[in-house]
Symmetry: C2
Subunit: 603 residues, 2 copies
Amino acid sequence: MMRTHYCGTLTEALLEQTVTLCGWVHRRRDHGGVIFLDMRDRDGLVQVVIDPDTPEAFATADRVRSEYVLKITGRVRARYAGTENANMISGQIEVLAKEIEVLATSETPPFPLNDDFTNVSEENRLKYRYLDMRRPEMLERMRFRSKVTSQIRNYLDENGFLDVETPILTRATPEGARDYLVPSRTQPGSFFALPQSPQLFKQLLMVSGFDRYYQIAKCFRDEDLRADRQPEFTQIDVETSFMDDEDIMTMMEGMIVKLFDNLMGVKFDKFPRMTYAEAMRRFASDKPDLRIPLELVDVADLLQDIEFKVFAAPAKDPKGRVVALRVPNAGDLSRGKIDDYTKFVGIYGAKGLAYIKINDITKINNGLDGKETGLQSPIVKFFPDAALQTIIERTGAQNGDLIFFGADKAKIVNDAMGALRIKIGHDLGMSTTEWAPLWVVDFPMFEEVGDGQWTSVHHPFTLPKVSVEEMKADPGAATSVAYDMVLNGTELGGGSLRIYTVEMQKAVFEALGISDEEAADKFSFLLDALKYGAPPHGGLAFGLDRLIMLMTGASSIRDVIAFPKTKTAECPLTQAPAPVEPNQLRDLGIRLREKPKADDAKA
Amino acid sequence: MMRTHYCGTLTEALLEQTVTLCGWVHRRRDHGGVIFLDMRDRDGLVQVVIDPDTPEAFATADRVRSEYVLKITGRVRARYAGTENANMISGQIEVLAKEIEVLATSETPPFPLNDDFTNVSEENRLKYRYLDMRRPEMLERMRFRSKVTSQIRNYLDENGFLDVETPILTRATPEGARDYLVPSRTQPGSFFALPQSPQLFKQLLMVSGFDRYYQIAKCFRDEDLRADRQPEFTQIDVETSFMDDEDIMTMMEGMIVKLFDNLMGVKFDKFPRMTYAEAMRRFASDKPDLRIPLELVDVADLLQDIEFKVFAAPAKDPKGRVVALRVPNAGDLSRGKIDDYTKFVGIYGAKGLAYIKINDITKINNGLDGKETGLQSPIVKFFPDAALQTIIERTGAQNGDLIFFGADKAKIVNDAMGALRIKIGHDLGMSTTEWAPLWVVDFPMFEEVGDGQWTSVHHPFTLPKVSVEEMKADPGAATSVAYDMVLNGTELGGGSLRIYTVEMQKAVFEALGISDEEAADKFSFLLDALKYGAPPHGGLAFGLDRLIMLMTGASSIRDVIAFPKTKTAECPLTQAPAPVEPNQLRDLGIRLREKPKADDAKA
């Protein structure tokens, strides 16, 4: 090996020893006729001193610049008193260079990689990703990611899970997002699809008797990208047989608990369980952020008959929802701040944000009969006294509190008030803990997308909790044996028990309006497999990128992926995607559609 | 958990205990009014006995068939003396069932999965892969594969390698095979390519300072398939900085040594090293099978001036080769067998297979001057006595031996005689050892493909052993710092040190006839990266599928992949590739080329 030690690992234990380092010039200073180089490798920095007593080394050091690659041999010595750096592992020592070899030179990087790195556009960072990842912050994230996958693999190996690779060139999978397609050369006109998940393959492995499977698997979705989405992403994919939902949750919870303990020293208690219904009722979200102690309270029953239609109409509508959100000690929130929150809920489609300030809890009335009221609100006059009394009781409001209201279609209320709950909680510093994990269980089987049209809440292979007959009778009431692991309001992973009989699988396809022909065309191999002794099975998949993002506190999913794509699914580094040669297309039996000319497009 | 134990793990240690098993009915027998079920799970088989004393269980057992999935609770008891089965871990015991639950029924499988499995077509096995993988042989291979990757990861983790994922949707890579293309929806007319290897990304990670990288990576090549190729295959991909070729070989050898020791109890000595030149000279192969002790001996210098043009012409041709292959104790090989070998070398383009049988080593002459000759051969008359004498000396031939000859263009001789060497060695049972690993080193940098046209023997990023000037002066003489690990005549993996200066990289592109424009178009990001302080680096990639195939003794690469493609790159299970909807193509800005009509094609 060229080096004896990594820069960042040198300590006083090596005093007076000769070491050889290989790394990059992080920073160069000339000071008092002596040259100081901060040398960097993946383990950190060390200060190297070159003085004129070693003229050859000094001459070399004199011409090196930032990001040159050097091999340096020298003696470890204590720093002069007062020049120690407590922020560095190697801060008590320095290396007095004897020999310096320039292994590679460097032009001036397009952006600085040391402390001067600031305000660099993401486009530029991605174009020069190999330089961006030299920054210790980035390199540490990638290293952390490697540790996470290693820990996860060890846990799953120890628990008897087999790592099995499933195909990347495969058939369109049923997750419902847009597939990436790969033209076949040997069958022109036919296409492979890149998998949106290994779902069907892992179920088939259970049919094969693999019993416990895992894979850290690349998955692909050709969707328009949001901040936390990538065209290719990585899933910790798990499937087991002969285990029930409790067994699976316990096993997977154990993995996450161990991961946080081993890598971050975070100790979790047993994760709370919450039904989907309760999560929606109390937090208006199927992935509630339990760090925020604020809760929603339903009040529709109190307001169905009032004259104020903004509340009465959704209160009477079976698809409407009316909620109150008590915010303790927020009675002094300024008009401007309330206006900001009103705009915020507007993003989610809410048409306004009603509120009541609680000034004096002994005077709960709407003041219409001339009585002095302890409530301050533009809308309090619409509310009967009894309703006000019950709202105060249900929310537990106290003097100095503020109550916000949401009243609209349930989806708008949930989106808007669920988001507002979290925003206010963070704004007012109400977070009660750093990490708040939980399981959300008992999801509905289906979601209504049109009149009598149903879609799967998870996917069509999820096992219902009800019989075929019950499901057919009332699809909307059917729940599934599905479970999501949620951390700090983010879905870390989700899974379910799977259907393992032909009868139930066909019934679910039918409920989803998938014709027998379509089912046979797309899923005949699954339906076939279920005929030959499929074991009860279930599993789960975690989003690895999102997990790493949460654990490292990165603000973008792109910061935890070595070579990510931009929001327009491009790679500024390699310039992918790129045009190809006409003969490549000919081989594949495809041609480009002619683009409308620019003029036509404008016209 | 539904089960208390896996079937295959039950032993006498559990006598008289109550256990619950989950698994498949492997075989059912009725014998003496009692029902015997061989129950199977991934850990093996156990015999379950159901007698009429438990009428409910008996009634259930009476209707179960092969491949039903059962949950059985019962008591472990010793088998009756004389009915033990020494071939099973659980062969000393059986389980007397108390309760049986049918978890899933099964139709009769399309082929039997127990000992009756025989002569099933591969097409059928792949179509019903989920059943094929129930066979213990297949399941064990997949399990072994999982152990191999686990061991490899542990070794690399322990040695400080970081597991980093590189993109699947990327730019065309330079390995030279045909790329799989993925049309971009956001940039119609542009395409991603699936990587043929992570080569450039791993080099960029070295430029980033990751120092030690690995990935068990999916790679893709759209080539016509041979028995040991798949459209997608898996590579153990490694790259390091600041290590020389010896360091890298030692590190990687350590990994393979540990793997074979831990998983198979095979102990390797230090792997021998052999230059490419020596391997070609002695074994006519860059991946010599050293289990076979036969060697080739060059004899062109002895035969340049003889009248027999079949030998003299290639002996004089600088691109020709003439070799002798001594086969000890093969003098009694029948004429028919020699004819078979003549046909065999014909596959490789050899026009014949000359031979000499050594009957009496004291009489080495061609017999033309009337002297009695101890040599028996149709061609011996063309050889001068002195040449015969030297050939015997060089080959070390003894009475009873046979010497084969190859004379043709060097490529044909190498292909034919290299293959013949191995075939004869196996036919005659000459293998001296079960496992024969070695490193082949000092590969040529380039291979001539046309007049003055050169191609890379490895890839264009391989570091030459010579200077830019020397390389330009004589590309054919330049060797590279490249190394292949070979086991039993199979290339397990290969790698090299990489070019890390712009100057050398450009010179190699130039030698390969890659224009500046093409280099800038395809590799500008690499050339850019080399400007900013690239460390000396190198690495290696192993073919995981082939490694597993060798270790498990599987006869096809498809037998070590869970869901492989056929030789025509199709998946009989999922019917991939498949037609897609017209609107999907429209989204991607492509259309199908019209096929010539069947009638036209016939005309």
